[in-house]
């Protein structure tokens, strides 16, 4: 009622007089935002929106008819733009046939692992005074990664732990950093002077928090899937993860650990799979899950002050573009 009555009032041309007409004609110079009255402006906006929707629907129908009419000669459907499509090309993307990369990988710190000279042995520990959640997470992580041991950190300095670990033949050290009772950081250090990667860890889910989980992970060596590690940096990080697990996965166990990199976030999942047929596989999630984001990669073992950093995430420089990813 207010609209009909107010139609007589001033303001610029409002278009149709009767409320809710079939086809509203908005003159081209009219803009909904010029109406001062909020109620009317809202009403006008809704009508304008409805009209837009109708036009859009009509345009779609027309396009579809054209497409059908052309039949085979129709132009191919446009590929929608996704962030992955639009990703800024990273010059350090690894070409599978690149010799230089292959040579580098044959001579870097993981070469002994990939040549089967060393067997991975992992030490998992936390920061000082871990809370229950972190402790439980460490235990579950130890069940997921074979040949791993959890040790309670009693205020010991990492620099002193590392030589001892090397003496006892550990190949990797994982430190889970805790803040306010939740684990939020992960330092992964390959031991005999290997690179150290520092990650920020988020959305940690313990086994009991995962819905529809299966039974406990068994002792079988799981397979490893590394997805989407394309650049040089991604490659080295991927190799770091691969070197945590022993070489020969026991396919009997039908367990698979996945590190999936998407837009610089590495998602870790642990599943049990079963092949229902040649083309169908069922997976069931067991084991903890978490996501990592790489913060820095350092050349030697853990040394935050004097270490030589290969890569640090610098927010100002690296976060400028939404389409640029580093892993």
């Amino acid at each position: 009622a207010g609209h009909g009555g107010a139609a007589g009032h001033g303001a610029c041309a409002e278009g149709a007089g009767p409320p809710a007409p079939e086809r509203v004609l908005f003159p081209p110079t009219f803009s909904v935002s010029e109406i001062k009255n909020k109620q009317r402006r809202h009403f006008m906006f809704l009508r304008w929106k409805q009209q837009q929707r109708k036009e859009k629907l009509a345009a779609k129908k027309k396009r579809r008819k054209e497409r059908e009419a052309l039949g085979d000669k129709a132009p191919p459907k446009a590929i929608p733009k996704t962030i992955e499509n639009q990703r800024v090309y990273d010059e350090t993307t690894v070409d599978p046939n690149d010799e230089e990369v292959a040579f580098d990988e044959a001579t870097d710190e993981f070469a002994p692992y990939f040549n089967r000279q060393t067997v991975p042995k992992i030490l998992i520990t936390t920061s000082d005074r871990p809370r229950g959640r972190t402790v439980r997470f460490c235990e579950q992580l130890a069940t997921v990664i074979p040949n791993s041991h959890v040790y309670y950190r009693r205020g010991l300095a990492l620099k002193r732990i590392i030589p001892q670990c090397i003496a006892r033949d550990f190949t990797d050290l994982i430190v889970i950093n805790e803040d306010r009772k939740i684990p939020n950081g992960l330092v992964l250090s390959h031991l005999p002077d290997g690179p150290t990667a520092h990650f920020r860890m988020s959305s940690v889910r313990l086994r009991k928090e995962i819905k529809r989980k299966g039974k406990e992970p068994t002792e079988h060596v799981p397979e490893v899937i590394l997805n989407n590690f394309t650049t040089r940096l991604g490659h080295s990080v991927g190799r770091m993860f691969a070197s945590l697990f022993p070489h020969d996965p026991q396919f009997i166990g039908r367990q698979v650990a996945t590190f999936h990199n998407q837009r610089d976030y590495i998602f870790f999942r642990f599943h049990r799979y079963i092949f229902k047929s040649e083309k169908k596989v069922g997976i069931q999630e067991l084991g903890p899950r978490f996501t990592l984001k790489l913060r820095s990669l350092q050349k030697g073992t853990f040394d935050s002050k004097f270490g030589e950093y290969e890569w640090i995430h610098k927010r100002r420089e690296m976060d400028t573009s939404r389409r640029k990813f580093h892993l």
């Binding site: 997805n227 996945t258 998407q262 998602f267 079963i274 092949f275 047929s277 040649e278 596989v281 997976i283």
Partner: protein
């Protein structure tokens, strides 16, 4: 005179250094020796006073005498104390010789306390320091949102399934899974048709059991290559064996929830089928009993 000062500040009027609490009065003056608001420890109300203060890890003895009461700039005389604890105590003694007992005693006590906390500071700095990095809320929010979107975009389950199927195609699993390609399907279907009619009733029961007893079936697989082990396997696993038989026969129909593997060994088992058939009669007897 100090008495007048105290009668004003201490009791009646306002002293800006005084802090009152329910049980005690404190004095916030930096030159105060004990920290309490007393007649004997007020630096304003005593014309002869001494304190110990530390600056950047070094302790100083501050002294105030009546002679300099008129010169505020030169009022407090400062003496640097020795780093050695005993020598510093001697220094205090020689500087405050003939001074009231109270001040001397309190000075030494204060000095002891200060050195103790300086030692503790030095020890703590040697241990690992926890560096507190402030979070920036906007950035945290942004990261969380991006992580969620990345999770949705990742479609993890699909990716994992695709990867596993790829590996199956490229034969990384070797002989464990020998899925019938269509040519085999038909050949097997005929044979399955025979066995199906026999084991119709038992199938439905066993399908459910298959899901739970998956792990037993896994163990089976490792042993299937050794047929001696198959025979050795006790009656407890006989049922699983039979179920496995049915499972394998059902493989081409791909109805089973259990594993569908091992056409190779299954075929090798053909000569042994007669043995199996004998065992198969057992469940029928059980069903009869039930």
């Amino acid at each position: 005179s100090p008495q007048v000062v105290w009668s004003m500040l201490g009791n009646r009027q306002f002293c800006s250094y005084k802090m009152t609490t329910k049980t005690q009065n404190f004095c916030r003056n930096e030159y105060n020796l004990t920290g309490l608001c007393n007649r004997s420890s007020c630096p304003l109300a005593n014309s002869q006073y001494a304190t110990i203060r530390e600056e950047k890890g070094r302790c100083y003895l501050y002294m105030k005498t009546i002679e300099r009461a008129a010169f505020p700039r030169r009022l407090w005389e400062r003496v640097l104390l020795n780093k050695n604890y005993e020598k510093a105590l001697e220094q205090i003694d020689e500087n405050l010789i003939y001074w009231p007992r109270f001040i001397r005693h309190k000075c030494k006590q204060r000095f002891t306390k200060i050195t103790q906390y300086l030692i503790r500071i030095r020890k703590l700095t040697l241990k690992r320091q926890r560096k507190l990095v402030p979070l920036r809320r906007k950035i945290e929010r942004r990261e969380r949102r991006r992580e969620e979107k990345a999770l949705v975009a990742a479609q993890l389950d699909n990716a994992i399934e695709k990867e596993l199927l790829e590996r199956l195609k490229q034969d990384t699993y070797g002989d464990i899974y020998n899925f019938p390609i269509h040519a085999f399907d038909k050949a097997l279907q005929q044979q399955d048709a025979e066995s199906e009619s026999e084991s119709d009733a038992e199938r439905e029961e066993e399908e459910d059991e298959d899901v739970d007893k998956r792990e037993f079936v896994e163990a089976e697989d490792s042993d299937l290559s050794d047929f001696e082990d198959m025979d050795k396997l006790e009656t407890s696993s006989e049922e699983e064996q039979e179920q496995e038989e049915e499972v394998e026969k059902k493989a081409s129909l791909s109805k089973s929830k259990g594993k569908t593997p091992l056409k190779g060994p299954a075929r090798r088992k053909r000569p042994y089928i007669e043995i199996e058939y004998e065992e198969e009669t057992e469940p029928t007897t059980k069903t009869k009993a039930a």
